[in-house]
Symmetry: D2
Subunit: 153 residues, 4 copies
């Protein structure tokens, strides 16, 4: 089991009027974790020309689906959340990123806040047609393939 760990800071404005991290904002935190881990910022960094996420990219990585379970409300933490990520599936022109979001490293007891999965498809920027996952990316990401999450209900 090879998972990546990414430290994701919570902003004060991520809190809602209940004083918890807002449910929608959590997907922003997952997006940051995913980019840091797999899109050029982490140890599995694939060629950035191929999977660039910026406005000028040739291949867009579109989100096709997401699923999330919130296990406990997340209070404000000055220390970054500890996000575990892995590839739940690595298909031809799509992939699934899985996440488990924990309390900051060192906090006792370690708390699982969120379990989530994001299905991503690669498409051509201009035509919108599916684009095969490049070999370099597949090679870079294969070490991080693990059992996909299953969800309640």
């Amino acid at each position: 089991m090879t998972r990546l760990h990414v430290a994701i800071p919570v902003r004060w404005s991520d809190l809602d009027a209940h004083g918890h991290v807002n449910n929608a904002r959590m997907f922003t935190l997952l997006e940051e974790a995913r980019i840091a881990a797999f899109w050029g910022g982490g140890p599995a960094s694939p060629p950035t020309a191929v999977l660039e996420t910026g406005a000028g990219a040739e291949v867009l990585t579109l989100i096709a689906a997401q699923q999330i379970e919130y296990r406990a409300p997340i209070p404000y933490h000055r220390e970054p959340l500890d996000v575990e990520l892995w590839m739940g599936r690595l298909g031809g022109a799509s992939l699934q990123v899985c996440y488990e979001v924990f309390s900051p490293v060192g906090h006792e007891p370690r708390t699982l806040y969120v379990r989530a999965a994001t299905t991503i498809v690669l498409v051509d920027r201009d035509s919108g047609a599916p684009r095969r996952l490049p070999d370099e990316a597949r090679a870079a990401w294969e070490p991080f393939v693990d059992e996909p999450l299953t969800f309640r209900g």
Copy 2:
């Protein structure tokens, strides 16, 4: 089949660097639709003292789970998105809101952008214990119960 329709404006800052509504921000739009439809702003408006969503509420409505399918990227629209909502399930202390998000009313062709579902649990603000859905709320929401969405994959 009795569904509610809510008009949800998109903000310019909801767009990401691809010029599409950001995947995480979509959950903010769903949140707004849900509040407008079922939490005191819509035709099914239950007693606000019971299901108040503000900071001083006695009963918190916590998001337990969400699932979403993005069918097409959403460009900037000056007119509000057309969100259809219904209750996919009305349980003892929990419920599921289902959504289909369409292009603004009058746009041709009508486009389905997003299908989603949110599972909500009612808990006591202080103890965190589950709280039964009040009878008034159940009565108000029952007319909007319909078949829950099923998702691909």
Copy 3:
């Protein structure tokens, strides 16, 4: 004195952990008001080909400066805020939009929450060079020129 009025809805997630509209988010609400009033949505609607705010626009409208005074914390309102806007200055390649943000229409007493001003410069998308305000836009906006706001301190 000819001012425009725009109704700007507050989202529940605009609130921070104090239960007030977040100070930074207020600039998002001002942005929405400005676009609705002057960029194709309001009565002074100039040619949208010229001042399009979208990703494909030839002329970018860059924010050069902003100033704001918060007069009172803004609680959650289901009804939209009432934003008054006018042009504090209409220069060669720049302009200043002024705002006063009030409680929703009908709320008593009417409360002034925010006074603000935004200085905007028009620049060429590719070269970044200043671009003169087109005559059509100037003609459309001149009726809304009024005394610019002055700020304390």
Copy 4:
């Protein structure tokens, strides 16, 4: 001249449809820098019981006014922005935080993106009355008082 430096990460979703950090979002980044530098996370960390920014705080730190100049559009950076902060004024029940936001450390040429100032007042959570800046906070912050920024126009 004693200024604090804080590293503030940009999120991908902070970008707008032009591919630049959104003008309103910049105030969120300034908020994060301010909290990290002066509210318990930085070297000048005052007693957190007194100036806690969370939902349960006795003393609220309300934003009274802000001013900003945008010098250059901010593209996406994987490395955090370099924010310089200091106290432009330390009054009885109010203070002014000044900021200069630069490109990430190591980027050449070093670019000044933003100059800004925030005026903050301390008020009692319940009564709303002004509350004097505690002696401990004043002592902690005095080393960081420097010339306040002046703005164009």
